[in-house]
């Protein structure tokens, strides 16, 4: 995707939470949470190896869950050193530690505990020796600018509050996106205003 899109791909990845029924329904393995965290950590290490150098690290990786003999990657990602890694979730013990260790971006929720989550992430960064400020703080959201943009001011205000808490990017769905107009309202009444916060 990164090659085909001219370097626009991100890796958004998480341990998974609600796929259990889907996995059962389709016959896909869905290991216990502890295993999924381990698999996530190993996956990230393997990805970084494959993005390393001209065609990947190519040295055997001996993980508990994955053992690729030769992490070869050709063509190499266009984004160097590698596409940004977003690790989703705000679990304080494991997920945010993985964010601190491996990720270029976190993905949090707009909840009252948000400042606390960021503080936990900062502590993990300290322990892992990584740069907290270099991690992009993102948050999930739902954009509702109202019919004809009547609620745009309110929406911008909510985004401003998130910005003040340290959020740099918001990922949100737009209701009735298929009607296209709601996107145009966002482009007209919200995005320029938010860019100028």
């Amino acid at each position: 995707l990164d090659v085909l899109s001219g370097g626009r791909a991100w890796l958004g990845i998480g341990a998974g939470h609600f796929e259990q029924d889907e996995a059962r329904g389709l016959g896909i393995a869905f290991p216990p949470l502890q295993d999924r965290y381990e698999m996530l950590a190993e996956t990230l290490q393997i990805c970084l190896r494959m993005w390393n150098g001209e065609r990947g690290d190519q040295r055997p990786f001996a993980g508990k869950h994955y053992q690729p003999d030769r992490p070869l990657n050709s063509p190499q990602s266009q984004t160097r050193p590698h596409p940004p890694i977003l690790v989703g979730g705000d679990g304080e013990q494991k997920t945010l530690r993985l964010v601190a260790r491996f990720a270029d971006a976190c993905s949090l929720r707009p909840i009252p505990e948000l400042p606390h989550k960021l503080e936990v992430l900062r502590r993990h960064c300290g322990a892992e020796g990584t740069d907290y400020d270099a991690i992009e703080k993102t948050c999930v959201f739902a954009f509702d600018a109202g019919e004809a943009g009547t609620k745009a001011g309110e929406l911008v205000e909510r985004l401003r509050r998130l910005s003040e808490q340290g959020i740099q990017t918001v990922f949100g769905r737009v209701a009735k996106v298929e009607q296209i107009t709601p996107l145009e309202i966002m482009g007209r009444d919200v995005i320029p205003a938010v860019a100028a916060l």
Binding site: L1, G25, G88, T138, V140, V170, I180, V190
Partner: protein, 218 residues
């Protein structure tokens, strides 16, 4: 177009200007001030700027510049030679110009103010036009989102659809496979970032949890 530039001429003084290969596309933001959307070369903008328009570069990223000048007024986007969005521009009248100041009350930027990027999640493709129109609709969503200034497009990495607050959902509803969807979105866009986001579901379902499975009975 002339009307718009005239309006800008009365606005103040130019401080800085971004690279000349950029084209400025104005979006209608304050009808009295801008009129209809217009396209003008940045060189021409420099001319009006020399005569009165004022703006500052507040965020100079590698491939774009975001520009603003306090208060509030029309906003535009900087577009590169190949039509890609290069940044968002917000223009403002000087207060003494007597217009625009009260039109939209944008606050003055706080010291160390941050840029907030807005990204679009496309959590499902259950649309009234039905499965046969998903591709065409998705392409239009992607193109419009890019033109509207969204920073990235994110799709969930799941095969069964999960419900969202306020709308029906469930495994029988349409859910596209993520990698092929992102490749499709890549082909219909030229600037936006592309990614899967697996966490959106947790956000939506938090208030339903814990519940007896399956979760979409919430």
């Amino acid at each position: 177009m002339d009307q718009s530039r005239e309006a800008h001429h009365s606005a103040g003084r130019a401080r800085r200007c971004r690279s000349k290969e950029l084209t400025l596309v104005m979006q209608q933001r304050d009808e009295a001030l801008v009129g209809d959307a217009e396209t003008a070369r940045i060189e021409e903008q420099e001319q009006w700027a020399a005569g009165g328009g004022a703006y500052d570069v507040v965020e100079d990223l590698k491939d774009r510049a975001v520009v603003r000048r306090g208060g509030d007024t029309p906003a535009g986007v900087l577009v590169g030679d190949h039509g890609q969005l290069r940044g968002i521009v917000v223009f403002t009248l000087d207060e003494e110009a007597g217009r625009g100041a009260g039109a939209h009350q944008r606050r003055q930027p706080a010291p160390g103010g941050r840029l907030v990027k807005v990204s679009l999640q496309i959590p499902s493709s259950t649309w009234p036009s039905g499965p046969g129109r998903i591709g065409a609709t998705l392409a239009e969503i992607a193109r419009t989102a890019e033109a509207s200034g969204f920073d990235s497009l994110a799709v969930p990495d799941q095969l069964w659809q999960h419900p969202w607050p306020g709308r029906p959902g469930g495994p029988e509803r349409e859910m596209l496979e993520a990698s092929s969807t992102l490749a499709f979105l890549a082909a219909h866009t030229s600037r936006v970032k592309l990614l899967t986001m697996v966490t959106n579901r947790r956000f939506g379902l938090r208030r339903c949890w814990p519940r007896p499975s399956p979760p979409w009975t919430c």
